[in-house]
Each structure stands twice: as structure tokens, then as C-alpha cells.
């Protein structure tokens, strides 16, 4: 999937995260989190795994995490990607 436009998804409320996506050559993932020290590596793993499952290899991704569970991270990243791709077509098997 190709990120065609800037898009945003999520909130800065506790247990949630804000995901911003934008078109860019190459893949750039920036993560900030209140629990970066404990869970930063895990958050990055979930984000990168989610992008890979969706076939996203390029784009800028800025994640502001507020202690979200993996399920929320996956959902917000997926929704942000779909918005950025101007697509509503989901490959459920890949989720």
C-alpha cells in the first residue's frame, strides 16, 4: 500500500496513541511514549509488524503513545494507513 496523503488517527488520551502518516521515500518511524524505556522496543515491533502486514514499505510515521495496548496500536496504525492511502479496502487475512 502506498501512502498518498497526510493522515492522522487516534487521540492523546490515556491508553491510546496518536498516529500521523505522510508520504515519504523510504520508511521512517518515530516513536515517543510515556513508557518508552519499558515498552519502546515492543511498540516499535508492533508498529513495524503492522506496516509489514499491510504491505507498507514507504512513508513517514510519527507515533505518540500514551500507554496503549498492542491491540490499540495495531488498530490506530492500520486506520491511519488506510486513511493515508485513501482506501477502505482491508485484507482481513493480513490483520
Amino acid at each position: 500500500m502506498e501512502i498518498k496523503k497526510e493522515a492522522i488517527c487516534g487521540t492523546l488520551e490515556s491508553n491510546d496513541l496518536l498516529v500521523k502518516v505522510a508520504p515519504r521515500n523510504g520508511l521512517e518511524v518515530t516513536i515517543s511514549s510515556e513508557v518508552m524505556r519499558q515498552f519502546g522496543a515492543r511498540i516499535r515491533e508492533v508498529v513495524e509488524e503492522t506496516l509489514k502486514q499491510m504491505g507498507v514499505s514507504q512513508g513517514q510515521f510519527v507515533i505518540e503513545d500514551k500507554g496503549a495496548l498492542d491491540c490499540a496500536i495495531r488498530a490506530r496504525v492500520q486506520a491511519a494507513v488506510l486513511r493515508g492511502c485513501d482506501s477502505e479496502e482491508l485484507n482481513w487475512r493480513g490483520l
Binding site: G10, E13, N15, D16, C71, A72, A75, R76, Q78, W92
Partner: protein
């Protein structure tokens, strides 16, 4: 004995914090709402949040329900894909007016189960009745599919359709009775309306006791605070509990002795009385017993 279904707690499908923590309240059922509680621009994200939340192990042991948008909206079918593929136990269809609404839903659920490899028939259906047409067609709706699990009355839309407003319950009396009779005739469960004033415990308990006396399995809830109140309302009294124990003990003793007839204190006890006593004991197990 069937699982208790007194409390069905609504959780907005777009609220990540509530989705991540609602299991701690331990209602009998949790309903992830993709319909009225979700703004139009958040439907896509909420759908994915619910899909992934359904797979959280923390929700194992709590019955899961997803309220989808109606199938004649741009969101309904997508919601259904997320719910069924996510492994939800029950899909709640809002604004069910006739049996054909259930037939349409059933056809789509059949397809999705087939496509994702889920066991055929494992997704159950709940119809929310929110109109005069729905109430009039309640029996046809309740019996529309072997997947039908329950029907629920949704009071706000119903009273608008009836050109009245919420009051002391008189305005809902016919609908409550009609839906309950349809559910019992179809051997499925029935849920009463939500009580929207979360600060009015007295009013809530009055309505909960009324629903219990009519025969509803439980109520839809919009605030976790109402769970304990509702479970207390549904708990049997100490007197009811002791009597039920005596009846069930007598029935078990009769069975051990191979007797066809159950008797207690010299009086014959009919089978429906034994069944009712078993139901009362089940209600007491996870709940407080009223003083």
C-alpha cells in the same frame, strides 16, 4: 444451566481506554458499540479497535457482543466483517423491523464465517427492536433464524416512533410485554432498555426490579456503576434461596432414589417448580443475596 445474562454493558467502540480496561468491571456481557456511540469520521478506526480488542485474552470468560450499524448504511457490512472475523460471540443488529432484516444479516454472517474459516453457526444474533413495526413483528423476528439468541428493546427510538416520550414506564409496557412473549415463545433471551440517568440509583433499581418481575434476563447498561446495582436487584432473597435449595435437594434425592415424583414436606413438587428453583440458585451463585 444457562449462563447468567443480567448485565450487558455498552462500551463505545472508538474509546481505546475503555476497550482496554472494561473487562475489569466483569459484567455478564460486554457490548462494543460501533453504532450511535461512534462519530461518523471514527467509524473506520473504531471498527479496527473492536476487531483487535475482541482477541484480547482479558475478555475470555465474558460474553462479547458487537452492535453493528444497520446493514443499509455504508458501515454495517464492514462492521459485520470486523465483528465476525474478530471472533465475537453475538452480533446485535439495531433497528430490526422485520424477519427479513435478520435473514439478510444471516446470509452475510454465513458468508463471512465460510470465508474466514469460522465454525458455521458459531456467531449468534441479537435483534434490537426500536420501532412499532419491530414490536408488531417480534415473534417473526425472534424465530427468524436458528442463530437468534436474544432480542432487546431499545427505548429511545421506540418512543419517538410511538410519538411519545420516556416517563414512568407506561409508554414501554406493551413493547416490553410483546418482546418478552416473543422471546419466551422462541426460547431465546430478552433484554430490557438502558436507564440513562446514571446518578439516579433509586430510579434505576425500580426499573431493574420491574424488568426482573416481568421476566427479562437482564438490562442493557451504559455505565459500569449500574452493574453491581443490577446484579443485586437480580439476586434472590435469603428466603427465596433457602426455599430453592430445599426444592433442589428434594429433587436430587428423588432422582437418587429413582422416584418419578418429587415431594417436599408432604407436597408434590412439579417439574417447573424445580426448574425455577434451579434458576434461583444460579442467580445467587455469582451475586449478592439480598438481606
Amino acid at each position: 444451566m444457562k449462563k447468567l445474562r443480567r448485565s450487558m454493558l455498552f462500551i463505545p467502540g472508538s474509546n481505546a481506554a475503555m476497550l482496554s480496561t472494561a473487562f475489569v468491571y466483569r459484567p455478564d456481557s460486554i457490548m462494543f458499540d460501533l453504532e450511535d456511540a461512534v462519530a461518523l469520521r471514527e467509524k473506520d478506526s473504531a471498527r479496527l479497535l473492536v476487531f483487535h480488542t475482541l482477541q484480547l485474552t482479558a475478555y475470555h470468560g465474558i460474553e462479547t457482543v458487537v452492535r453493528i450499524n444497520p446493514l443499509d448504511t455504508p458501515y454495517g457490512l464492514k462492521d459485520l466483517e470486523a465483528a465476525v472475523r474478530g471472533g465475537v460471540e453475538i452480533v446485535r443488529l439495531p433497528k430490526t423491523d422485520c424477519a427479513e432484516d435478520i435473514h439478510k444479516l444471516e446470509r452475510e454472517v454465513d458468508r463471512i464465517e465460510r470465508e474466514c474459516g469460522r465454525e458455521h453457526g458459531s456467531t449468534r444474533l441479537m435483534a434490537a427492536i426500536e420501532s412499532a413495526s419491530g414490536v408488531v413483528n417480534a415473534v417473526a423476528i425472534a424465530t427468524a433464524s436458528p442463530r437468534m439468541d436474544s432480542i432487546a428493546l431499545a427505548g429511545f427510538d421506540y418512543v419517538v416512533d410511538m410519538q411519545t416520550q420516556r416517563g414512568d414506564g407506561t409508554e414501554l409496557f406493551y413493547a416490553r410485554c410483546a418482546i418478552l412473549h416473543a422471546a419466551r415463545a422462541a426460547k431465546i433471551d430478552a433484554f430490557d432498555v438502558v436507564f440513562s440517568d446514571v446518578n439516579d440509583d433509586e430510579g434505576f433499581l425500580k426499573e431493574a426490579n420491574f424488568a426482573k418481575r416481568l421476566g427479562f434476563n437482564g438490562k442493557s447498561l451504559i455505565n459500569p456503576r449500574q452493574i453491581e446495582l443490577l446484579h443485586q436487584a437480580y439476586a434472590p432473597t435469603e428466603q427465596e434461596l433457602r426455599k430453592a435449595e430445599r426444592i433442589v435437594n428434594a429433587a436430587e434425592e428423588a432422582e437418587r432414589q429413582g422416584l418419578g415424583v418429587v415431594s417436599l414436606n408432604g407436597k408434590m413438587v412439579d417439574a417447573p417448580v424445580v426448574l425455577n428453583a434451579q434458576r434461583i440458585l444460579a442467580l445467587a451463585k455469582p451475586a449478592f443475596v439480598q438481606a
